[in-house]
């Protein structure tokens, strides 16, 4: 039922669009997005014409002045089409499970492109490279960089860089040289393609595309290590691609290529890569600094995040550095400090808006890929196209095999053959190749290159995209959290916790000498400059509260050893609590902020060793396009309080063996199953239902838990509404 509605809606949309466009056919060339800014001046003469026309007739009831709003109208129509298409797919139930979204979007694009071609008798608007690189790509990369799982990314950074840099070099030269070899074969009639041209073609077709990888991989849920290897590679190979592409493009124009040109090219690679990262870090730090002062105007905090990251992208494009690396470096840098500085609401805004923009961008890109395929100036050459596809697959497979063989000797977690296959098979090409091929200078064989690029993209997205999910299941690649049996699941979880704990004790995350140094300087200098002051002060009280929260959150009713300690500790640390009543407010505000701090940190560190913890819950990866995590912090805070109540009440009930009380607590709260991730994310519940139980137990609590000053409990009670309802 819903499907029919969406089809009807899409049909209805495309009709008025075509009509509007055909109205303009006589006046203006319908190149909507080839410089939408430049089309605005067109509206001026038309407007005056229509108004002149208008005045000569006198007043009329019905006026249609489309040209005035043409550009924004068409942009909105495209975005609307993309969003409705996406909506339609998800109403289709089983279809998204079989066919990845990217394929469906390209199909929609093909249909729309075909429709437009029929209506206008002209090729439909082409995805202009400027629009793609300046408007459509940055949101996706920003989203990817902001939600990048840092710990596992840096753990695997060496391998990722290896695949990205060495792998891409290998692919480029492999594809370029072998295609040249093919072109030399006389019977294919391709001998006018020079080596440089094939190398240029190789450089743009070899790069794995982050957009395509993201959209396909997030539906198949492989284990995090594999995901980050492929995804990280697709992000970081931008530097190599940019350099090689520009290099070969320049070489194509030059008559003589000397050795020093090649050396300049190689050094350019380092400059492009590190330059991009430096620009990104610079802007990340500036964002952090700016958000330090936005305490009074929290409404525009998200704006700074977006503006500065976009600015970092544009700035690096000015210098021809790698924009993708800049924006990723910016996002990674600013996230650590901005998280502390901006308010909870701004944080949510940033998250949602980022996801929304990247989702729309991705949809638009795929639709445009489909639309642009419908053109009448394709040049088809069977050998070239087929061999291109073949060589892309071949060289990627060889490259991955070869590199992994070397890497496995240096890594602790070996990349298995199944993983290698997925890495090789998951090397999807996407819109970046497409835009790059359009940017080529005109030469006789350009259309051939365009056609083969389109074929490669369609092949990888359709065939590889559709078959990768069944293959993953067939090969039984290690997925994220598939329990085989209950005891294995539980014991594995235990082991994960143990290893994480031991890593923390042995200082694993900081065990790299430079990481140690970085953390030290970070805490000492950077955080003082970049993070707002009141987050760091009153450390003894914060420390005490943290300890209290943590002790209460972890329940251990029977353990004799442990209950001795907290009492002893608390005795030492209750002394700072003799405070004036006037200071309670400041303490409360500080603590509500610091409570954020603990829990967020908790979430960040817990992602990678908890995985999907509870067997009863579905899990969603952190970088999911379709679903957002439920708001973690407020849920975690509720969880902490809830656990505190439940464990304390359970302690109270234990001797009396009254289970009906705990049942009452549990059943009294309305609980809904959510997409959750770790044990510290709790369900939605009405916390006002908890207050009655809490009110009956405060006196008992102080006895059980050692020196627990009654004033503290009442503060908590007052605090609770502000913390738990914070959304």
């Amino acid at each position: 039922m819903a499907e029919y509605w969406t089809i009807a809606l899409l049909g209805c949309l495309s009709i008025p669009y075509s009509i509007c466009a055909s109205v303009e056919l006589s006046a203006v060339k319908p190149s909507v997005l080839d410089g939408n800014v430049s089309s605005l001046p067109y509206s001026q003469p038309n407007h005056s014409a229509s108004s002149g026309h208008h005045s000569s007739e006198g007043l009329s009831l019905f006026v249609m002045d489309y040209s005035h709003v043409k550009a924004p109208f068409e942009i909105v129509m495209w975005i609307m089409l993309a969003s409705l298409a996406k909506l339609g797919f998800h109403l289709y139930g089983r279809l998204p499970a079989v066919v990845p979204e990217s394929c469906l979007l390209i199909l929609v694009g093909l249909l729309v492109g075909g429709a437009m071609y029929k209506v206008w008798q002209q090729p439909p608007p082409v995805l202009s490279t400027d629009v793609f690189f300046l408007f459509l790509l940055p949101p996706i990369v920003l989203d990817a960089g902001y939600f990048l799982p840092i710990r596992i990314f840096f753990d695997n950074l060496g391998s990722i860089l290896c695949y990205a840099v060495l792998g891409t070099f290998w692919n480029v030269f492999g594809i370029g040289v072998s295609l040249y070899g093919i072109c030399q074969v006389q019977s294919f009639k391709l001998s006018d393609v020079s080596l440089l041209q094939t190398l240029l073609f190789g450089s743009l077709i070899a790069a794995v595309d982050p957009v395509a990888v993201l959209s396909v991989f997030e539906e198949i849920h492989v284990n995090e290590q594999l995901h980050i290897l492929v995804f990280g590679e697709s992000l970081l190979n931008d530097a190599v691609t940019v350099v090689l592409y520009k290099l070969f493009k320049a070489f194509c124009k030059m008559q003589v290529i000397s050795l020093e040109d090649v050396l300049v090219g190689i050094s350019q690679f380092f400059i492009v890569g590190f330059g991009g990262v430096a620009v990104g870090i610079f802007f990340g730090l500036i964002t952090a600094l700016t958000t330090r002062f936005t305490g009074k105007i929290q409404v525009i905090e998200p704006l700074f995040v977006f503006l500065y990251s976009y600015l970092s992208y544009l700035t690096s494009e000015v210098f021809h550095y790698s924009g993708i690396m800049a924006i990723i470096a910016c996002a990674v840098t600013m996230k650590q400090y901005v998280e502390f500085n901006i308010s909870q609401k701004s944080h949510i805004t940033v998250k949602y808006f980022m996801k929304m923009c990247s989702s729309v961008s991705e949809t638009l890109i795929f639709i445009f890929l489909g639309v642009s395929t419908v053109r009448d100036n394709h040049e088809w050459s069977w050998p070239f196209v087929c061999f291109t596809v073949f060589f892309c697959l071949l060289w990627r497979a060889l490259g991955v095999l070869f590199l992994t063989a070397i890497l496995n000797k240096l890594r602790i977690n070996t990349v298995t053959f199944k993983d290698q296959f997925i890495i090789a098979y998951g090397g999807l090409r996407g819109a970046i190749c497409f835009s790059l091929v359009f940017l080529l200078d005109d030469f006789p064989r350009k259309r051939l290159f365009i056609t083969s690029t389109i074929v490669v993209i369609l092949f990888t997205v359709f065939i590889q995209g559709m078959t990768i999910k069944p293959l993953v299941e067939l090969l039984e690649v290690k997925r994220t959290g598939k329990p085989t049996n209950v005891s294995e699941e539980i014991h594995s979880r235990l082991l994960d916790h143990i290893v994480a704990g031991i890593e923390d004790i042995s200082g694993h995350w900081g065990h790299h000498y430079w990481k140690d140094k970085f953390e030290y300087y970070n805490k000492k200098y950077l955080k003082r400059i970049l993070v707002r002051q009141n987050k760091q002060s009153k450390s003894s009280i914060v420390h005490f509260y943290e300890k209290l929260e943590k002790k209460h959150a972890v329940e251990s009713p029977d353990s004799v050893v442990l209950t001795d300690l907290p009492r002893e500790q608390r005795q030492l640390e209750t002394s700072p609590l003799q405070l004036q009543p006037g200071e309670l407010d400041t303490i409360k505000s500080i603590l509500s902020h610091s409570l954020h701090h603990i829990r967020r940190k908790n979430f960040l560190t817990n992602i990678y060793y908890l995985g999907d913890l509870s067997i009863f819950h579905k899990q969603a990866p952190a970088y999911s396009r379709h679903t957002l995590q439920p708001d973690v912090n407020s849920d975690e805070m509720k969880e902490i309080q809830f656990r505190r109540h439940s464990c304390q009440s359970r302690q109270d009930n234990q001797d009396n063996n009254k289970l009906n009380d705990t049942n009452q607590i549990y059943s009294g709260c309305t609980r809904q199953k959510q997409l959750t991730r770790s044990c510290t994310i709790g369900p939605e519940y009405k916390s006002d239902q908890l207050h009655p139980t809490e009110a009956t137990h405060p006196a008992d609590r102080s006895i059980h838990r050692g020196d627990h000053p009654p004033s503290w409990t009442t503060d908590n009670q007052q605090d609770k509404p502000s913390i738990s309802f914070e959304k």
């Binding site: 014991h491 994960d496 031991i502 004790i505 251990s556 009863f616 770790s678």
Partner: protein, 194 residues
């Protein structure tokens, strides 16, 4: 012998530690550094409070139990040697090691790793995981929204799957067997140096 560089000679008992645990001198130096960072009052031993001050450990659901594992038999403080001995359990296992026939089992073998994990369950050190002990650990690891009944059924199911001799508890051998498919050597290994 074997000590390269004067830095390692600062570490007390480095040679014996190296022999016992198999860490290289660079590892030992690195761990001694960490030991000193953790040792707040600089008296050469770690107490429980030192380990509890590690922030990330405090939010680890099993943090307290892990700390307990460092202080066996109720000792109050540990020296560097004991510290390293526990951490040696997490050294990556070397394949194809030549084992002398009467050498004691290396600390980082699969068996030793599993024994370490087992002792986190087994609080009363009777060599078996009882249902109550299992429930305790489960409650720590799992979210609040899992009710007691559900937790008990999980525990029962776990014991049922693992318990081969039907005594209602999980012995160490049964524990090992239930994890035979899991790649313990990789899962329980940490790179102590990059």
């Amino acid at each position: 012998m074997g000590a390269t560089g004067s830095a390692v000679s600062r570490v007390p008992g480095a040679d014996e530690i190296q022999k016992e645990t198999g860490f290289s001198s660079a590892h030992i130096y690195r761990l001694y550094d960490r030991f000193q960072v953790l040792d707040k009052d600089d008296n050469g031993v770690l107490s429980r409070r030192d380990l509890q001050s590690i922030g990330e450990l405090a939010v680890n659901p099993l943090g307290d139990r892990i700390i307990d594992a460092f202080f066996p038999n109720g000792v109050e403080t540990i020296d560097f040697r004991s510290f390293v001995r526990i951490l040696a359990h997490f050294r990556p296992t070397e394949e194809n090691r030549q084992r002398e026939p009467n050498a004691s089992e290396p600390l980082n073998s699969r068996n030793s790793k599993l024994k370490f994990a087992f002792q986190l369950y087994d609080q009363d050190k009777d060599g078996k995981i009882s249902r109550a002990e299992l429930l305790q650990v489960l409650r720590m690891m799992v979210g609040v929204e899992v009710t007691d009944e559900q937790l008990e059924s999980i525990a029962d199911r776990t014991i049922q799957e693992a318990d081969l001799d039907g005594d209602g508890t999980i012995s160490f051998e049964e524990f090992k067997k239930s994890l035979e498919k899991v790649n313990i050597e990789q899962k329980m290994s940490i790179r102590f140096l990059r």
